[in-house]
Symmetry: C2
Subunit: 323 residues, 2 copies
């Protein structure tokens, strides 16, 4: 069995070795810039680990693993334009370092590059990998669209929010695992169980991200807390707070949403409001439920228990980070 | 043999029948909006006609034909954002009718949709179609990148310009033909000859487009002439005018490039300058050379002469439009 760190260093090595066309530089440099940023690279690692559950030789899964990482970074490049985000992983975003047109066009090239990696997968799996890739990619665009629409709404239900993060974040983790299992030769049922494992892991992961923005340790979290509160980002916490039946708290919250010149006070007040409504606990319960569903899906996968351990450990590590 | 008009109405029927997901509407409506605009739909038609040169049954080529049309419209959606163009085929562009974020994200979904059509192609041709599609798509992004870079330069050579339009416009026509021939069962050599035919046709077509903007009949051309001159667009004419050894004319031209509040006068002056430098004739000669190269490539294709007639007629119709 390959370890998490071995899979990670294999991915990093392969990403470094990507051979971009020399010209035009302004099209390809931003791609290399974004892919060279430090990141968890959890997605391609999941693909390699899932493949390794079924076969020792994982080289067949490398192209699709890279395709996911490139695709994921493509979504970051375009999302940062749409969200007008200036910083990503502590560095300037592509549209800040270059300009918006470059971010749009390099992003397009990056999506095409991801498909070029898919095309390098073993012929016997090409069609099903391609279908999974395109379906997942479409769903992620749908998720981003809902996320943007939610910014203009105050009546997003918890159900709508859960649907959005499923599309925007969770299906990718599911598809990374499924594609690895596919290439590794897993049966359809195991492929789908690993997909479910990834979905629930992804949902728990996203809610944790929402929690960390408010309750995380800024040192461990790697960025200042409260960013989501300052910009009224529709997180699990805010969506639920807006749906409270406590009219008094809701009124206070709506007022704070109109304030954008007193960030520190706003963070303090909205956090206090979340505390009053016990939303930290609610979020943790929802995370825990998703985590349990992920474990149940993994339980059903028809491989030896010791092989499941690497995914179990990974899930625990991802979900007990810095709270 | 299927006629041009039969191929066109088949394409139009299939585009109308595309079944978009119902939600989120704001992601899929702009795609349907753009695809419903009147257009020549020359690209998918070329694919179907090329397939039909080798086999009577062209249904196998329909998915890749649609993929090209969807891809082409994806490039229009994103290019219009990058070029800040407000009108396309007489209607508001997507980013004007909705907004830029919608145009970026719907465009991304459109590119993915094009790949979903590629994936529906016959299994035996999937890998090579996918490779051709991705290579062509990458090249077109490179062409757009060069086109944008040229906007900031005054020293673009004719050679650089020709390379840019080859990437931005011509490879797509070549690839449309090649993919159709591929699915129709043509040998590699014929596939490449049809690709060459498309390349040279595309180059001639683009130079004609540059000419029509200055010398076209506004009624037949469907838009006001001089648009390229007003916005200093680096066309075949402007690139060559900037490279003139006639220092006097060059100085006049550079001065006019700084003027943007007297459009009518500017159009008249720059057109006169083009006339002085005999650039209309030069462009027509270059077009003619490309046309001849296209015909030579077609000549070598190993099919009966009467079958070539439909492509010959199409080329003539495209290149004797409204001058």
């Amino acid at each position: 069995m390959i370890s998490f760190l071995e899979a990670l260093s294999l991915v990093e090595e392969k990403i470094k070795a990507i051979n971009y066309p020399r010209h035009p530089q302004r099209l390809y440099q931003p791609i290399a810039y974004l892919l060279a940023m430090k990141g968890k690279k959890i997605r391609p690692v999941l693909t390699l680990l899932a493949c390794n559950l079924y076969q020792t030789e994982i080289s067949d899964a490398i192209p699709v693993a890279l395709a996911w990482e490139i695709f994921h970074n493509f979504t970051l490049m375009h999302d940062d334009v749409m969200d007008k985000a200036d910083v990503r992983r502590g560095q300037a975003t592509v549209h800040k370092k270059w300009n918006e047109n470059t971010a749009i066009l390099s992003g397009d090239s990056m999506l095409i590059l991801a498909y070029r990696y898919i095309a390098q997968s073993p012929a016997g799996h090409l069609k099903e990998l391609l279908d999974l890739f395109s379906l997942t990619a479409s769903e992620i665009c749908e998720g981003q669209e809902y996320d943007m629409q939610f910014e203009e709404r105050l009546d997003v239900s918890e159900e709508e929010y859960m649907h959005m993060i499923r599309l925007k974040t969770a299906v990718l983790l599911g598809a990374c695992l499924k594609s690895g299992a596919m290439v590794g030769g897993a049966g359809k049922e195991d492929q789908n169980r690993l997909y479910e494992f990834g979905i629930h892991l992804g949902i728990a992961f996203q809610i944790q991200d929402d929690l960390l923005d408010v309750y995380g340790d800024p040192v461990l979290f790697g960025k200042k807390t409260g960013g989501d509160i300052v910009c009224n980002k529709k997180t699990y916490l805010l969506v639920n707070a807006l749906n409270t039946k406590n009219e008094n708290e809701r009124k206070k919250l709506l007022w704070w949403l109109t304030i954008n010149d007193r960030p520190e006070e706003k963070i303090e007040a909205v956090t206090a409001l979340y505390n009053t409504l016990c939303l930290r606990e609610k979020a943790q319960q929802t995370m825990e439920k998703s985590y349990q569903k992920a474990m149940q899906a993994l339980e059903l996968v028809e491989i030896a228990d010791d092989k499941k351990l690497i995914l179990k450990n990974l899930a625990e590590e991802l979900l007990n980070r810095k709270l």
